[in-house]
Symmetry: C2
Subunit: 440 residues, 2 copies
Amino acid sequence: MTSQEPQQASRSRARSLDAHLSRYAARTAGMTASEIRALFSVASRPEVVSLAGGMPNLSALPMESLAGEVARLVADEGQVAFQYGSAQGVPELREQITEVMALEGISAHPDDVVVTVGSQMALDTVTRIFCDPGDVVLAEAPSYVGALGSFTAYQAEVVHVAMDEAGLIPEALRAALDSVQAAGRRVKFLYTIPNFHNPAGVTLAVSRRAEVLDICARHGVLVIEDNPYGLLGFDDQIYPALRSMDAENVVYLGSFSKTFASGLRVGWALAPHAVREKLVLASESATLCPPTFNQFLVSRYLSTHDWKGQVKKYREVYRERRDAMLSALEQHLPDGCTWTRPDGGFYVWLTVPEGIDTKAMLPRAITQRVAYVSGTAFHANGFGSRQMRLSFCYPTPERIQEGVRRLGGVLQDELELLATFGSVPQRPRLGADSPGPDTA
Amino acid sequence: MTSQEPQQASRSRARSLDAHLSRYAARTAGMTASEIRALFSVASRPEVVSLAGGMPNLSALPMESLAGEVARLVADEGQVAFQYGSAQGVPELREQITEVMALEGISAHPDDVVVTVGSQMALDTVTRIFCDPGDVVLAEAPSYVGALGSFTAYQAEVVHVAMDEAGLIPEALRAALDSVQAAGRRVKFLYTIPNFHNPAGVTLAVSRRAEVLDICARHGVLVIEDNPYGLLGFDDQIYPALRSMDAENVVYLGSFSKTFASGLRVGWALAPHAVREKLVLASESATLCPPTFNQFLVSRYLSTHDWKGQVKKYREVYRERRDAMLSALEQHLPDGCTWTRPDGGFYVWLTVPEGIDTKAMLPRAITQRVAYVSGTAFHANGFGSRQMRLSFCYPTPERIQEGVRRLGGVLQDELELLATFGSVPQRPRLGADSPGPDTA
């Protein structure tokens, strides 16, 4: 089997039938391509306005100055920066991370910080140390698609908790906990994005924060606070982190992906000390250590650049785009659509009139050269087919205007079909499926 | 709870008692600090000659030229290199990786390559998709400590298979498979390091390779081939990869940590196509994507630098150190010690006379300012207490000489105590434990 030919033959065999199918772990059955990933190839064609991706807008980064900084890093500290480091992360960076978190009222010790490969790895590692198969995890409805992926990978069951314009609803949280625990199920944690929610675009009211913490503490449930967007408030407001109000029962996840550069994959977890020890062990078996070079680069960036000024620039970039999107939505969307009005972050959450299925409509939208992510991607239970996430982070304001204009046309067409036929004719070959439970 | 004081109080409480103990997943119970990690703080004191760590020697890297390259990367491609990428990895790098593997006789398609955060992440991800709790994994005795950590994290059970100077013994492999399968247990894969083994320093004889593959195929067991050292053969020899002989039943793991720079954490897996799809999904839920910046940097390095010349330099660096270690072992170790003679890689595996426990001896060695890793770290079953791993990769030849001289003195002292008292007196407060099964 060393020649080219038999390998090619066996390759095509492998493509048509997975010879390893019987070997996979039970958890692997739940791993399926996310709707977002399946979209990428079509949505990234230049003629399509993509309101789908969550890529940060890096146009405001000072590339020239960064090029000099990274060259100095290699020249001055290459022997250490190119070498293995500790699983917990570079001490100087962990110290700086506590200073970043201090902006949100968090008082923390660098020894309780674990640097991770983006905050996705923090999320994965937290799930790894806490979740046995069948454990229940609470998450907002809707919730971050990457978190749902990690929960599924560890065979945890997600129970969604309703939100309104002021974020997670305490009464709904209490009811969900009572009902799951009454059923004899074990809830391991509440996963929440309090600020500028992905995908919902709402923020947990400050007046609700203590209550959410109190409910979780009383029910013996840990809180995982995911806060990648916290410094991106458009009115320069910074909300107090849940972790600033409860150091014992909150694991805080942070990231430099939105405040500096996502391609470096530098995030972190801040955890109670005993949990931190477990996180480091889990992290070590996952990657040995996060990339030393990237940690040194972020550390230098924080100490030599006006990083707070850069975050302010990012806020302006995103505020301008948010404004463009909100005014385009007012102008172009048909009656019966409602949407959230984010005061930070990357996303607007749109609800369309009853009868329209956003997942089924997506191929038609892409034909009209606009892409979004259907709300079903952000639910573990099939809900969300009357919703969609619109991202305003990456395209120019002009492209956003144009994209929303196209979306308005697509929705108008759907409504006309609906009025004529009583339902929108489906094109099964493009993968339309039955509506989710909340449109039924 | 927002003031400084109560947080400090609660911190010290958390240190003394883990309030979250009842919340961890079952797998977390098996996560304990590796012996190597526990050693780091003492072994890294400057007066100690550390023969313990496996850090590559980066002194031969062309830092000035790399500084220029990395600056050009930021200036030319910063907008993409600092941005999220695909979970599978940068296409151009995957293409180049197939060229690297071609040196070992592997014919592969870039589409079957998954870039990971070091090959540790490839190992973790492979285990994630294949191993249910209780599944059996075969590994050489001894085996790589990081692999054992990943297997434990997924609650797989490791069954060791004996090696000799020519690597894994086919007859022992056959016997292990028969016996585990006869007991009704499911073996998911054989994990093997065929070239310049960590920690054993031996290489699987070319004449055994087809037989090992055949045994695994007949028993329906996948082969995970871990090959970080394959290009570091001291006589410029490159052995044919197992993957070059069987494209269907081998998942190959590679790394730039030893041929370029470990602190970038760029490794990869090459897998049969259907398995590759699962690896990408698992990898996406673990980190979203490997660091784009690091992939671009490695890709540029491969295309603009004489990377094969650099690998040749590394080989010279390590050959010189291997020679220093072997001659020092001849000169300084007492009778009754035996060791492997690696023709590549980083490690010598030393067996000491009966009655000496390398784990119990370690504190006395560190007092004598030399550090190593006890053989028990490389076994999942408590074996290895008459062995130790000696790394020659990092210190200078002079330091290696001095370290081995000190080690010889420590062993001589142990032998004298043994002759006088019939056993070596233990100092329980330093954590000496009972000897492993192979000294009993």
